[in-house]
C-alpha cells in the first residue's frame, strides 16, 4: 500500500486541497482535467499493482462532476484534525500557487532574527495538543507532557537552546493554531497539523515529519474490515469539521452517520458505550484511541494522504530552515534515527512496527 502510494504519479495531482471545491480559475480547471487524467492513469496502473484495493477506483470521480478531485486515488485533507477546525482555514479561492504545499525551505543551521528572538527569551513557546494520546498528552499522574509531537518539540528546543526542557507548552485548540502563530503567542505549532494549501497560505510549514491518512477504527471482533462495504448500516462516528466527515459526505458506503462530536476522542467514548460501531479519523489519532482501549483496532488501510508539518509564522523563514535542519537530523539514521526511536516508543504498538517511515522532505527553493 505504502509503496504504491509513493509512486511518482502521486505527486502530480496533489495540487489542491481535498475539500472537493470546484475548480474556479481557468488554471484550476486545466489542472483538474490533468488530475483526472493522472487518476485515470493511476487506476489503470492500479489494476496491475499487486494489492491494489478495489475501492480506490470508486474514489475517482467523473470529469463531469467537476468538483471533487480525487488526487491520485487518495483525497488530500484540509484538516485531519480532531475538532472543529474549519473556522481559521478558510480556503480563499483564486489563483492557487500551490502544487505541493509540503515543499518547504531548504534546511539551514544559521541563526536568523527568529532564532535569536527565541534565544533571547530563553525558551521556546510551543503550541501543542494535550489531549492526543501518543502525540501530545499530559499524564494526569505525573503532570508531564509526552508523545510523538512533544518529542519533536524537545528536539527543536535542544537544537536552538541547547536544552530540550526549555520549552513552554501551550495547549491550543485546533482552531487557534493559525491565529496563535500569526499573533506570535507561540513560536511553533507541533500539533498533528496537516499541511495543506489553505494553511500554507497563512503559515509556513516545515518539511513533512509524518504521513497519516484517514482510517477506520472498530472493535477487534467487529465485522467491519475498513472503509468499504462492511460499513453498510453501521453507525459511524466522526469529529465535527473533520476530514472524515467530509469524506463520508462524499462516499459513505451506506454507513449511518452519527451527529459529529466535538473531538475525535469523543468517538471512542461513543464506541465504548455502544452508541457507535466504528470511528473514522486519521490513523495517527486513531492509534492514540486504540492505545487507550485494547479491544479496538485500526481496520483496513488509510484512504487519504495527510502529511504533518511543524507550523510557524510565515515571516520566520530562518526558523523554518532551522526546524527543517532539525528534522533532517531527526530523520537521519534509518532504523536508528531519533524519528524511528520516537515512533517505536509512541506509535509502533498501534500503528505497526516498521510500517511507517518518515516522509521524504520536499523543497521549493
Amino acid at each position: 500500500m505504502r509503496g504504491w502510494r509513493r509512486t511518482p504519479e502521486r505527486t502530480d495531482p496533489r495540487g489542491r486541497p481535498a475539500t472537493g471545491r470546484p475548480a474556479r480559475s481557468r488554471r484550476g480547471r486545466i489542472r483538474a482535467v490533468a488530475a483526472v487524467g493522472a487518476v485515470g492513469a493511476l487506476t489503470a496502473g492500479a489494476a496491475v499493482l499487486p494489492g491494489a484495493v478495489p475501492h480506490r477506483a470508486d474514489r475517482t470521480h467523473p470529469v463531469g462532476h467537476g468538483a471533487p478531485l480525487a488526487q491520485g486515488g487518495r483525497a488530500r485533507s484540509d484538516d485531519s484534525q480532531d475538532s472543529g477546525a474549519y473556522s481559521d482555514f478558510e480556503d480563499e479561492t483564486g489563483p492557487q500557487d500551490c502544487d505541493s504545499p509540503e515543499a518547504s525551505l531548504r534546511p539551514s543551521g544559521a541563526s536568523g532574527p527568529a532564532v535569536k528572538r527565541i534565544r533571547a527569551k530563553g525558551f521556546l513557546v510551543a503550541g501543542v495538543d494535550q489531549n492526543s494520546y501518543r502525540w501530545g498528552y499530559r499524564d494526569p499522574a505525573t503532570g508531564r507532557l509526552g508523545g510523538f509531537d512533544i518529542e519533536l518539540v524537545r528536539a527543536i528546543a535542544a537544537n536552538i537552546l541547547g536544552d530540550p526542557d526549555k520549552v513552554v507548552y501551550r495547549a491550543i485548540p485546533t482552531s487557534q493554531r493559525v491565529p496563535a502563530l500569526r499573533q506570535r503567542t507561540v513560536d511553533v505549532v507541533v500539533r498533528t497539523t496537516t499541511i495543506n494549501c489553505a494553511r500554507a497560505r497563512q503559515v509556513a510549514f516545515s518539511t513533512a515529519y509524518f504521513q497519516a491518512g484517514q482510517q477506520v477504527l472498530a472493535a477487534r471482533n467487529s465485522p467491519i474490515t475498513g472503509y468499504d462495504e462492511t460499513l453498510r448500516g453501521r453507525r459511524v462516528c466522526t469529529a465535527k469539521g473533520s476530514t472524515a466527515q467530509a469524506e463520508l459526505a462524499k462516499k459513505s458506503y451506506g454507513a449511518r452517520l452519527l451527529p459529529p462530536v466535538p473531538n475525535q476522542l469523543d468517538c471512542l467514548v461513543r464506541l465504548q458505550l455502544g452508541e457507535a460501531d466504528a470511528v473514522i479519523t486519521d490513523n495517527a489519532l486513531a492509534a492514540g484511541q486504540a492505545a487507550q482501549d485494547p479491544s479496538v483496532e485500526l481496520k483496513g488501510s488509510p484512504f487519504t494522504d495527510e502529511l504533518y508539518g511543524v507550523a510557524m509564522n510565515k515571516d520566520d523563514t530562518d526558523l523554518v530552515r532551522r526546524v527543517n535542519k532539525v528534522l533532517d537530523d531527526y530523520r537521519a539514521g534509518g532504523k536508528h534515527s531519533r524519528w524511528q526511536r520516537a515512533y517505536d516508543e509512541w506509535l509502533a504498538k498501534d500503528l505497526g512496527k516498521g510500517k511507517t517511515k518518515p516522509p521524504k522532505p520536499k523543497y521549493k527553493d
Partner: protein, 553 residues
C-alpha cells in the same frame, strides 16, 4: 309576602291592578287555584286571614290585631314597597300554576298548601323564618367551606408546595454541585481529596433520595412525574459516565477527560433541564397555592350580605307591622352574621397580608437565590472543565467562535449572576441574579450574605482571569493550582460565594416560613367559629319568627 292580597284581590273583587300584576295573574288556573284555599284552609277564623287580602283592601277590621294595622298601611301608606319585595314571591309561585291542570289531587293539595303559606300571614312568617335560617346557615357553611379551603391552600404553601419546590431546588442544586465537584475531583486526579469524593457522593445521594420523595409526593402532576422519570432514568447514566471518567483518568488516559465532558454534556443537556423543569412545575404549584389561599371569599361575602339584608328587611317588616322595634331572635341572628362577616374580613385581610409578605420576602428571594446558586455551581463546573478539556471543545459558530466552549459557558453563568458582561468590579447589574437578590432582600440579615456573595464573585472573577492567563502562558500546573488549590484559588472564591448564597437562602427560608405562618394563623378557628355563629344566628332567626308566629295561635 304582602303580594297575596293583590294575588287574591284581582279576580274576586275586580280590584284594579298594575300592568305587571295583571299580566302575572291573567292565568285562569290561578283564579281557580285561589278559590280552593278557602275549602282546604280552616273555615271561620281561617277565613279571616285567608281573605286577608280583600280584607286589607276593603279596610275590613280583621280579627287579627297585626293584620288590621298592616292592611291599611299596605294599601294606603306604602303601596309599592310591600309589593316590590313580595314580587319575587309571586314570581316564584306563578310559574307553578299551569301544571296542576292535569295534576292529581295530592299534587294540587301540596300546591295549595304552598300557596297558603304564601298568602296567609303565618305562612308568610314561616317562609320568612325558613328563608332567614337557610340564608344564615348558608352563610356559615359557605364561610366555613371557603375559609377551610383557603386555610388548606395556605397549609399547602407551607407544608406541601414550598417544601416540594425546595426539594426540587435541592435536586437541581445537588446535580449541578455533583457536576462541578466531579470535574474538580477529576482535575486533582489520583490526588483527589477525600472530601471532594464525599461531597460528590452526597450530592448524588441527595439527588436520588429527593427524587424518590418527589416521586411519592408529586400529587398527580403528569408534567412533574415525567421530569422525575427522566431524572431517574438519566442519573445512573450520568454517574456511570463519571465513574468511567475517573477510572480512565486514573489509568492516565485522556479518554477520561472525554468521558467527563460527555458526562457534563449529559448533565447540561438532559439532567439539569429536567431538574429545572421540575423546579418550575413545583414553583408554579406554589404560586397556585398562594393564589388560592389569597383569593377573596366572595361567595361567603355575597351570601353574608344577602343574609344581613334579609334580616334587616325582616326586622323592618316586623316593625312596620307590629310597631315593635326589636325582635330579640332576629337581633341575635343579625349580631351573629355581623360578627361572622367582620371575622371573615379581618382574617382574610391578615392572611392575605401574611402570605403576600411570605411570597415577596421569602419565596421570590428563594427563587432568585436558588438560580444564583445553580449558576455559581455551573460556572465552577465550567471553570474546572476548561482545564480538563484543554481546548478539546471549541465554540464553532456565533460571536464566540474559536473560543473555548467551557470558558464561554463560565462567562455566560457569571453574566447571569452579576451582569456587566465580564466587568469584574462594582455592584451587580440590577437585572442580574445577585442584583435582583439584593433588591429583594428587605433587611440587613438578608442583604449581608448577598453582598458577601457579590464580593466573592468579584474576587473569583479576578482570580479566574489570573488562572486563565497562567494557563494560556503554558503554565498548566500553576493554573491548576490557581483553580483547585487551597488558598488564593478560584475554588476558595467559589466556596465563599456558595456559602454566602446558602446563608442567604437559609435566611429567606426562615422569612418565608414565619410570614407564611402568620398568614396561616389568621384563619385559625374561623371555620369552626363560622359554623357555631351560623347555628346560633339561624336559631335566633327561627326563634324570633317563632315568637311572632306564636301570636297567631
Amino acid at each position: 309576602m304582602s303580594q297575596p292580597p293583590s294575588t287574591g284581590g284581582p279576580v274576586p273583587t275586580g280590584r284594579p291592578h298594575g300592568p305587571g300584576a295583571a299580566g302575572t295573574h291573567s292565568v285562569p288556573g290561578a283564579a281557580g287555584a285561589y278559590s280552593v284555599p278557602g275549602t282546604t284552609g280552616a273555615p271561620g277564623p281561617g277565613g279571616a286571614y285567608s281573605t286577608a287580602g280583600p280584607a286589607g283592601t276593603a279596610g275590613l277590621p280583621g280579627p287579627a290585631d297585626t293584620y288590621s294595622t298592616a292592611g291599611p298601611a299596605g294599601t294606603a301608606g306604602v303601596p309599592g314597597a310591600p309589593g316590590s319585595p313580595g314580587d319575587p314571591g309571586a314570581g316564584a309561585a306563578a310559574p307553578a300554576p299551569p301544571a296542576p291542570e292535569a295534576a292529581p289531587p295530592a299534587w294540587r293539595e301540596a300546591l295549595d298548601r304552598l300557596r297558603a303559606a304564601a298568602v296567609t300571614e303565618p305562612g308568610r312568617l314561616r317562609s320568612i323564618g325558613a328563608v332567614l335560617a337557610v340564608l344564615i346557615l348558608a352563610f356559615g357553611t359557605v364561610t366555613a367551606w371557603q375559609v377551610s379551603e383557603r386555610a388548606s391552600s395556605a397549609d399547602a404553601v407551607v407544608h406541601r408546595s414550598q417544601p416540594l419546590s425546595a426539594d426540587a431546588a435541592r435536586i437541581y442544586r445537588s446535580l449541578a454541585d455533583a457536576d462541578a465537584t466531579a470535574a474538580g475531583g477529576f482535575l486533582a486526579g489520583a490526588k483527589e481529596p477525600r472530601e471532594v469524593r464525599v461531597r460528590y457522593e452526597r450530592d448524588i445521594r441527595t439527588a436520588s433520595t429527593r427524587l424518590a420523595k418527589a416521586a411519592a409526593n408529586t400529587g398527580g402532576s403528569a408534567a412533574g412525574r415525567e421530569q422525575i422519570t427522566r431524572l431517574g432514568e438519566r442519573l445512573p447514566v450520568y454517574t456511570g459516565l463519571v465513574e468511567a471518567a475517573r477510572a480512565n483518568n486514573r489509568q492516565g488516559l485522556p479518554l477520561g477527560g472525554a468521558y467527563l465532558r460527555y458526562a457534563n454534556d449529559t448533565m447540561a443537556r438532559e439532567l439539569l433541564p429536567a431538574a429545572r423543569e421540575l423546579y418550575d412545575i413545583e414553583s408554579a404549584r406554589l404560586d397556585q397555592d398562594y393564589t388560592e389561599a389569597k383569593a377573596g371569599p366572595w361567595a361567603a361575602v355575597a351570601i353574608g350580605v344577602a343574609a344581613l339584608g334579609a334580616l334587616g328587611w325582616a326586622q323592618w317588616r316586623h316593625r312596620v307591622r307590629t310597631n315593635r322595634v326589636f325582635n330579640q331572635g332576629l337581633l341575635v341572628a343579625t349580631g351573629c352574621c355581623t360578627a361572622m362577616m367582620l371575622w371573615l374580613a379581618v382574617a382574610h385581610g391578615m392572611a392575605r397580608a401574611g402570605l403576600n409578605e411570605s411570597n415577596d420576602r421569602g419565596a421570590a428571594s428563594l427563587r432568585v437565590l436558588n438560580q444564583a446558586r445553580i449558576d455559581t455551581l455551573r460556572a465552577r463546573g465550567a471553570e474546572n472543565l476548561t482545564l480538563v478539556a484543554r481546548g478539546a471543545d471549541v465554540v464553532t459558530e456565533g460571536p464566540d467562535q474559536g473560543r473555548d466552549a467551557y470558558e464561554v459557558l463560565f462567562q455566560e453563568q457569571l453574566d447571569e449572576l452579576v451582569g456587566g458582561s465580564g466587568r469584574a468590579e462594582g455592584p451587580a447589574a440590577p437585572d442580574s441574579l445577585l442584583g435582583r437578590a439584593a433588591a429583594l432582600a428587605d433587611d440587613e440579615a438578608g442583604r449581608t450574605p448577598v453582598a458577601e456573595a457579590l464580593r466573592g464573585v468579584r474576587e473569583w472573577q479576578q482570580r479566574h482571569r489570573t488562572a486563565r492567563e497562567t494557563d494560556d502562558k503554558g503554565d498548566y500546573d500553576k493554573a491548576l493550582k490557581t483553580v483547585i488549590g487551597k488558598e488564593g484559588s478560584t475554588g476558595e472564591s467559589f466556596d465563599r460565594v456558595d456559602t454566602a448564597l446558602s446563608r442567604a437562602l437559609a435566611h429567606e427560608q426562615r422569612e418565608f416560613r414565619s410570614a407564611a405562618d402568620d398568614g396561616r394563623a389568621a384563619f385559625t378557628g374561623l371555620a369552626v367559629g363560622a359554623g357555631v355563629l351560623a347555628v346560633l344566628g339561624a336559631a335566633g332567626a327561627v326563634l324570633g319568627i317563632g315568637r311572632r308566629l306564636a301570636e297567631y295561635r
